[in-house]
């Protein structure tokens, strides 16, 4: 595979130069196609027979169930996300966002945060959508605010929180207020520190403007799905491993200390990578913890978890992810403590 180095997705420009010389019918590509096809069909037909007796350990099987489960649960949301982001890229002119958002970036942040209400779904959907927003010329600060608020304050998530905490509407209010505040703070924080920084890999518009709109849509969706899907798999593997390895029993020893319990439940949310529509029910079951600690669990979960860190690494680059994830985590914990102290 001598052309492998030139043909990476991370450097679409470099592939531009060679694309005309590489037709899809080149011999290397048809060998790869045949090999993949044979491998997959072979696995489908004989996989279980050949590997029978290999994966019998209970722990490994539980891990495999978790891994497939997290992937299967997240894929429909990822498909929804890339569908929306491809539609934004192909059919919504950049001038629309320029008109819809306030000119000043500091004012665009709260507007973007509040518009997170309209994207119902898990956190996986919001990563490609916010990448598409940046692509369309929306200021990164506003796109980041949207990225953080959409999975946390959409109606589905708030409704499931209300169901999980019956008779305690203030939990829903606290969750919405805290998540909104965190998304705005991080948007503004980006304006203060990250503006001009080189560590955000700006998602590039790979397509010429004169391409037919449907072709742009199709290409963007194919590319985004393959890219984000690969990173989602990494995240699902990490979440499955932590789910199986981390014993839940040690939670009981820290429940008494407010500060420690907030940190521990925040970390648990990062490690378990539970879908934002479901985390309220898990939080409700952690009855040995204070409401503030459980609020931290629900605020952190939709915005920082191992699955999301993998997706963000893929979409915005590793340099962005190593700064963004810890910053988000710390701001989320501080905001939860403050709002918890005020409301509960």
């Amino acid at each position: 595979m001598t052309t492998a180095e030139q043909h990476t997705a991370e450097s679409p420009e470099s592939s531009e130069s060679s694309e005309s010389s590489e037709s899809s019918e080149s011999p290397g590509s048809s060998i790869a196609f045949t090999a993949t096809l044979v491998l997959l069909v072979g696995a489908a037909l004989f996989g279980r027979r050949v590997f029978a007796g290999w994966f019998t350990d209970d722990g490994i099987r539980t891990w495999a169930t978790m891994f497939v489960g997290v992937t299967v649960q997240a894929l429909p949301f990822l498909v929804l996300g890339v569908l929306l982001s491809a539609a934004l890229t192909a059919f919504v002119p950049a001038s629309f966002f320029a008109k819809a958002l306030p000119k000043h970036p500091a004012l665009a942040v709260p507007v973007a945060s509040a518009s997170g209400v309209v994207l119902p779904g898990c956190e996986c959907a919001s990563v490609p959508v916010s990448a598409a927003l940046m692509n369309r010329g929306v200021t990164p600060a506003a796109a980041i605010a949207f990225l953080l608020s959409a999975p946390a304050i959409n109606p589905v998530v708030l409704a499931s929180t209300a169901v999980a905490f019956p008779g305690q509407p203030k939990v829903v209010v606290a969750r919405a207020v805290t998540s909104l505040a965190v998304s705005m703070i991080l948007g503004w924080l980006w304006l203060l520190t990250g503006k001009g920084g080189s560590w955000l890999k700006m998602p590039k518009n790979r397509h010429a403007h004169d391409d037919p709109k449907f072709d742009v849509f199709r290409s963007a969706m194919l590319h985004d799905f393959l890219h984000a899907g690969g990173f989602l798999v990494v995240g699902a593997a990490a979440a499955a491993t932590l789910n199986v390895v981390v014993p839940r029993a040690w939670l009981d020893h820290v429940a008494g200390n407010l500060l420690l319990s907030v940190v521990i439940l925040g970390l648990l949310a990062v490690l378990l990578a539970i879908c934002s529509e479901a985390d309220a029910f898990v939080a409700a079951s952690l009855t040995q913890f204070s409401l503030t600690a459980r609020l931290a669990f629900m605020v952190v979960g939709p915005i920082v978890d191992v699955k999301l860190i993998a997706l963000q690494t893929g979409t915005f680059g590793p340099k962005f992810a190593v700064r963004f994830a810890p910053a988000t985590f710390v701001v989320a914990l501080l905001a939860s403590l403050l709002i918890g102290w005020w409301l509960f």
Binding site: A4, A9, S15, S23, L222, G230, R248
Partner: protein, 232 residues
């Protein structure tokens, strides 16, 4: 080792991922991994992916240029292989053993129903979800005392011959699976992961350091086949 992904191979990967999702939905296997409510979303996502790959092949045959595609996409084959080769089962005793059998206090205490709630006993033991029994037996003692119940779940063995009738509760997918466990007394443990239907009387919960565990004094144990949806 990293092999570049050509567009036709990418199409193949997407078709297999989409086909795996459609197969999971139509065969009912998806119930091992997610809630029944996800069914139509899974099916729609699978169909969208297959349509995406097919239109790409059809349209691309009229075009000449070929973009390099993300290498990370190869990873999408890992879950497909996991499904084809390992055939991961629904969560069972192994997952339950990793959790505490203690029943969490309900978020909102139910209205005390009183013992009369169950009606007369002439119809035999009342069928009840393991999820409900594990909580009510600890937090609604007055309602449960002296009554007979019928539970369906799988066997989770623990130390010293103790075993639990278990169901896993899902909210969204297996990542949030919570084990609901009822200690079965007065009967030797059936094999691990065996699905059973037990009848028995409410018993005083077992005290543990981390809380109380629901218990049942077993009268009968009958092996049954696993339900279509193994979760509650």
């Amino acid at each position: 080792m990293v092999v570049v992904l050509k567009r036709n191979v990418a199409g193949l990967v997407i078709v297999f991922v989409g086909a795996a999702m459609v197969q999971l939905t139509t065969s009912g296997t998806y119930l091992r991994y997610v809630k029944p409510g996800m069914r139509w979303m899974l099916l729609a996502a699978g169909v969208v992916l297959i349509a995406l790959a097919v239109t790409d092949v059809v349209v691309r045959s009229r075009q000449t240029h070929d973009h390099g595609l993300p290498r990370a996409a190869w990873l999408l084959l890992v879950p497909v292989f996991a499904l084809l080769v390992v055939d991961p089962p629904a969560l069972g005793a192994d997952a339950a053993q990793r959790q505490s059998p203690v029943a969490a206090k309900p978020a909102k205490p139910a209205e005390p129903q009183g013992n009369a709630y169950w009606g007369d006993e002439s119809h035999g033991p009342k069928p009840i979800a393991v999820r409900d029994y594990s909580v009510w037996a600890v937090w609604e003692k007055e309602t449960m005392q002296g009554r007979s119940f019928q539970l369906t779940g799988f066997v989770t063995p623990a130390k010293n011959g103790v075993w639990y009738v278990t169901r896993i509760g899902l909210t969204c997918c297996v990542a949030d699976g919570t084990a609901f466990m009822v200690e079965a007394r007065g009967h030797a443990a059936p094999p691990k992961n065996q699905w059973i239907m037990v009848t028995g009387k409410w018993a005083e919960p077992t005290k543990r350091v981390d809380g109380d565990v629901a218990a049942l004094t077993v009268d009968t144990v009958k092996p049954v086949t696993a339900p279509v949806n193994p979760y509650e």
